[in-house]
């Protein structure tokens, strides 16, 4: 069967979201959603249309064992055994030593950049831990983002850099092109946007950046902030 368009696509998407599209027809339709972004948008529109019905249902408290099971299942992904402190610390040690190697390379490389030691650095990595760039803060007011490769194949998107504070919503530091190279953002280390920052993150946004002052695209990169010297 060919992928549906027009009214047929609307009708199938509606029954898919409603739940009356079942069995093999449902599975086939799910495959099409993955292949066809126009169809995915129709499904998303039906979801936005119908899901508010679910908000009318009174909540039902699940038992505590569900959360324990969820934690066990997501913990096992990073270690063979059940999530434990030992596993956590081993993972942390591995990450920390990886960061140390990157930092060492970074300092060597830094001699070509703005003068002096940075105040802090952050390595921007994908969720698969592939590094894509390094952010470094230099006094008096230079934040340099050095991208070593573009993210994915989204040529029509820009990257937006966000400060993730300990509490509260991400704060935008501005946009940068999704390509290899340096971007300089002028900001002082006492700027309120960087107050309480624990990590930096990058989202894919339309050209010019998020229209809503919050991330609208997926968070593709992130990295914890490592202080280097006192500002």
């Amino acid at each position: 069967m060919k992928r549906p368009t027009g009214d047929l696509a609307q009708a199938l998407a509606a029954e898919y979201v409603l739940g009356t599209l079942r069995g093999r027809a449902r599975q086939r339709f799910e495959t099409w959603i993955g292949e066809d972004s126009a169809l995915a948008r129709v499904v998303a529109a039906w979801e936005a249309g119908l899901m508010p019905m679910a908000e009318r249902l009174p909540g039902v408290e699940p038992p505590a064992r569900v959360w324990k099971a969820i934690e066990a299942r997501i913990g096992r992904r990073s270690d063979e055994s059940v999530w434990s402190n030992a596993a956590l610390w081993r993972a942390w040690a591995a990450i920390a030593s990886g960061v140390a190697v990157v930092l060492l390379a970074f300092f060597t490389w830094l001699s070509q950049g703005p003068r002096g030691e940075p105040l802090f650095v952050a390595v921007l990595s994908s969720t698969q831990a592939v590094p894509y760039g390094v952010v470094s803060m230099h006094s008096p007011d230079i934040l340099r983002i050095r991208m070593v490769r573009p993210v994915g194949d989204s040529p029509d998107r820009e990257l937006e850099l966000w400060v993730i504070p300990k509490e509260g919503a991400p704060r935008s530091l501005g946009v940068m092109p999704n390509e290899r190279g340096d971007t300089i953002i002028h900001i002082t280390s006492s700027d309120p946007r960087v107050r309480g920052a624990v990590s930096l993150a990058v989202s894919l946004e339309p050209p010019g950046g998020s229209p809503t002052k919050r991330p609208t695209g997926p968070m593709v990169l992130s990295g914890p902030i490592a202080p280097v010297r006192r500002g």
Binding site: G19, T20, R41, P52, W67
Partner: protein, 192 residues
């Protein structure tokens, strides 16, 4: 349930994408009862609904970075995951669940009188108004399918109507919803 504003949930989802365990725990805290209620209606039994809730949140943890706030509201995205998982897992040869006809019938029940401007413009309000425009048979079939995950043949059995009639009610009801929602500007992709 404390702060479940879409902005707050989107923030927690963004942090979950960054592998922030504490944010993920807060996300679970804020949404578990709603998602559990949705699954429980569809699968009909608690052990199965617990399994669905587990799968749903493992899925959310694994796919949080695919969530794009520009495309859907956080709760819509999460409801869709929970409903899809429920529909996957629901037993084909099940007995019909205890059906809450009142719930489906009350889809157009009273809304609070003094709606502020935000509420009036919300998707929930638009849907409510559009459901109100349907014929009772159409609304009932759509409500039962949505809340209890009934298939066409289960709907026919429960409503004691011929299968073809029930399919027509669902199809026509959805068509009218589509026209109405598009007219009210909910979802640009519902236009033809």
């Amino acid at each position: 349930m404390k702060d479940v504003s879409p902005e707050h949930l989107a923030d927690l989802l963004a942090r979950t994408a960054l592998r922030d365990h504490a944010a993920f725990a807060k996300l679970y805290e804020a949404t578990r009862a709603k998602l559990f209620a949705v699954s429980l209606r569809i699968v009909g039994e608690r052990p199965l609904a617990e399994e669905v809730l587990q799968d749903t949140f493992v899925n959310i943890w694994n796919h949080a970075r695919d969530y794009a706030p520009s495309k859907s509201a956080p709760l819509t995205w999460m409801f869709a995951i929970a409903r899809n998982r429920s529909l996957d897992i629901v037993r084909r040869t099940r007995e019909l669940p205890d059906i809450d006809d009142a719930l489906a019938g009350n889809l157009v029940g009273d809304e609070p009188e003094a709606l502020d401007e935000m509420a009036r413009r919300s998707d929930a309000h638009k849907l409510h108004q559009c459901l109100d425009e349907l014929e009772a048979d159409q609304r009932q079939a759509i409500g039962l399918a949505f809340f209890h995950g009934l298939s066409h043949s289960e709907l026919a059995e429960h409503l004691r109507r011929p299968l073809g009639t029930v399919k027509t009610h669902v199809r026509r009801g959805l068509n009218r919803l589509r026209d109405c929602l598009a007219r009210r500007g909910a979802g640009e992709s519902l236009g033809s």
